[in-house]
């Protein structure tokens, strides 16, 4: 697998959407090619950053109470 092919699979690789066979080819390329490895690491860090910045939000306790009241009369 060359650099262009690896980058074409960038997000499918990070999202764990590739078949095991293609995933292992990408992984081998990343081991052998530090610039691609760095590129993938940076993209992964970006996705983790977005998740962390948004996952902190939770449903307000009052909303949960409202729903339980509506559903079960509590």
């Amino acid at each position: 697998m060359n650099c262009r092919e690896a980058v074409e699979h960038l997000y499918e690789y990070l999202d764990r959407e590739l078949t095991p066979e293609v995933e292992s080819k990408v992984r081998e390329h990343l081991k052998a090619c530090p610039p691609c490895g760095e590129h993938f690491d940076t993209e992964q860090a970006f996705l983790k950053f977005v998740e962390a910045r948004c996952r902190s939000r939770c449903a307000p306790p009052e909303l949960k109470r409202r729903i339980l009241r509506e559903l079960f009369g509590e």
């Binding site: 499918e12 999202d15 940076t42 860090a45 948004c54 939000r57 909303l63 949960k64 729903i67």
Partner: protein
């Protein structure tokens, strides 16, 4: 009666299975609703309505299958039918024809590893996501915040998997470009664009 033989029918069994399989996804529904509607009050109403609809049709849900995807489908349909028009302006362009645009190279060169991310607070990231076209925003939130598979996202959005991939790619590029631009404006990184 053990969980595997329990039916989603009525009475205590219905309530127990709904609490176990549906109510546990309240936070996920709320996060998606927030990003779809853009405000807490509409998000509250949308989630409440989703849960009420889900409870009413609970006997159509097969226990132990993908409750999160099922609930998110109800939530999105409710949003489209009842909230979209008043919450935000409907999309007037076909987002799938928008050319992908990349982060300006001189900005990325100033911080190739995105170290400035650490300085950007939750609210700013959420605001940047809210500024994405709706079709990009929903794909990004379902994938990058809620961790759904391409297949599940395709089912919820009623589009082919290829469209999910393409929207996710564009959404991520657009979000990154917005955050780089914000980082330059705030002086977290130096841009050459003036």
């Amino acid at each position: 009666m053990n969980a595997s033989s329990e039916q989603a029918g009525s009475g205590d069994g219905k309530r127990a299975s709904f609490e176990r399989e549906a109510l546990v996804h309240l936070d996920a529904l709320y996060r998606v609703a927030l990003r779809l509607t853009g405000n807490g009050s509409d998000a509250d109403d949308l989630v409440q309505e989703t849960m009420l609809k889900a409870y009413r049709s609970w006997d159509q849900y097969q226990l132990g299958t993908n409750a999160k995807g099922w609930l998110l489908t109800i939530l999105r349909n409710s949003f489209i039918n009842e909230y979209r028009r008043r919450a935000r302006h409907p999309e007037t362009v076909d987002v799938d024809t928008i050319e992908p645009f990349a982060v300006l190279s001189e900005e990325q060169e100033a911080d190739p590893h995105g170290r400035f991310f650490d300085q950007i607070v939750d609210e700013e990231v959420q605001r940047a996501i809210d500024g994405l076209p709706e079709a990009f925003r929903e794909a990004l939130v379902l994938s990058d915040v809620e961790g759904l598979s391409y297949q599940d996202i395709a089912g919820i959005l009623e589009v082919p998997v290829g469209t999910v991939k393409s929207r996710l790619f564009r959404a991520r590029q657009m979000l990154k470009a917005k955050l780089y631009q914000y980082a330059v404006e705030m002086g977290y990184i130096k841009g050459n664009a003036g």
